[in-house]
């Protein structure tokens, strides 16, 4: 069976970590993508988009001076956006639901939690090809229709928005007995690791 001609795509990979860019590039090349442009942050990405027609962006969240959220917002809403509809896959170490929602509200097309894998990246590219989302414009939002749920991952890190967070945020609360015991145990384990 003939597959999609991914070699016809030009993909922009935006990450301040060179190892991560290199890994994403390796995966893309293995999938057949031959035109890969790299940028180290959001501002650099916009510069690259001024030079080359980009079909798809794969972007990190945490970058300076312009992070992935700001870049996405700029692409979706700025009058100077090079392409308001360009698909954006956000790659992030963030896995908390509130963060995923934040990315969604900035206008990302797909969210992907690190660690990145060939399967998850390929799946998202295929999803963008086969299931394009309509765009929605409201008073407060412009971007892909947010009604399709973005599920970042199924790993053990997954937690509900109601876990921890604000409720646990009062500073100076003493540790419980069990927590104190766990702290002592942790310190002992670290000490033994330092000796070995």
């Amino acid at each position: 069976m003939m597959g999609y001609r991914l070699d016809r795509l030009t993909v922009l990979v935006v990450d301040d970590n060179q190892h991560m860019r290199s890994l994403v590039r390796t995966i893309l090349e293995s999938l057949g993508v031959s035109q890969i442009v790299e940028a180290r942050d959001g501002a650099h990405a916009l510069e690259k988009m001024g030079q080359t027609q980009i079909d798809l962006l794969i972007i990190d969240w945490n970058m300076e001076p312009m992070d992935g959220l700001s870049l996405t917002r700029h692409l979706r809403t700025s009058a100077e956006s090079p392409d308001q509809f360009v698909p954006v896959i956000m790659l992030s170490g963030h896995t908390e639901r509130a963060r995923v929602m934040q990315a969604r509200d900035a206008g990302v097309t797909e969210f992907m939690a690190k660690p990145v894998s060939a399967r998850s990246l390929y799946a998202r590219i295929v999803s963008i090809i086969e299931n394009p989302r309509p765009f929605v414009r409201t008073k407060d939002y412009f971007g892909p229709d947010r009604r399709r749920q973005m599920l970042p991952f199924d790993g053990p890190d997954r937690r509900k928005a109601s876990d921890g967070g604000e409720a646990a945020a009062k500073p100076g609360q003493p540790l419980t007995g069990a927590q104190q015991a766990a702290l002592t145990r942790t310190k002992d384990t670290i000490k033994s690791m330092q000796k070995s």
Binding site: Y4, G93, P115, Y122, E130, T189
Partner: protein
């Protein structure tokens, strides 16, 4: 491009599927052979990266930020943000480059910080333990699940942060 008539304040736009037009109509779903090739290439690329080279100086910076939480209280919010960002990046890279324990412990730290704009001595001690644990994992090159020591470390940290 097609646009539905605004319903109330909502406009729905169906932009042309430029990517589909570019990659052609032939494919459907993921090609298993292509996926296997990409997975093999990714595994090889991951092996070639020594994560500790990036992690060691970043963890030293994280430890410094933890110390500043009490010694530079006026700027505590800034130090909490710095700490979060450093650990967030390590958490992202750990799983990809052979150190899932860094991802796991880094995840605990990030969750612990969520919603906290100020911390006291108790929280600083917890944060210090989390950073020290990541440093111990990296300096002992505890790859993969870290064996019994790594598992014990994570179990006690999980009890600590709840």
């Amino acid at each position: 491009m097609s646009g539905d008539k605004p319903k109330g304040a909502v406009e729905v736009i169906h932009p042309p599927n430029k990517i589909k037009a570019r990659v052609g109509p032939a494919g459907k779903g993921m090609d298993p052979n292509l996926l296997a090739r990409a997975e093999a290439a990714a595994a090889k690329a991951q092996e070639n990266v020594d994560f500790t080279v990036q992690a060691n100086p970043e963890l030293a910076k994280a430890a410094e930020e933890v110390s500043l939480l009490l010694s530079d209280r006026e700027n505590q919010t800034k130090h909490l943000n710095n700490l979060f960002n450093i650990v967030h990046d390590l958490r992202g890279g750990g799983g990809n480059f052979g150190y899932p324990l860094v991802t796991r412990i880094g995840g605990m730290l990030c969750r612990y910080l969520e919603g906290r704009s100020s911390v006291g001595m108790v929280e600083v001690e917890v944060l210090r333990s989390l950073v020290d644990a990541m440093r111990a994992v990296v300096s002992n090159k505890l790859k993969g699940d870290g064996g019994p020591v790594g598992q014990e470390l994570c179990a006690s940290l999980e009890r600590l942060v709840g």
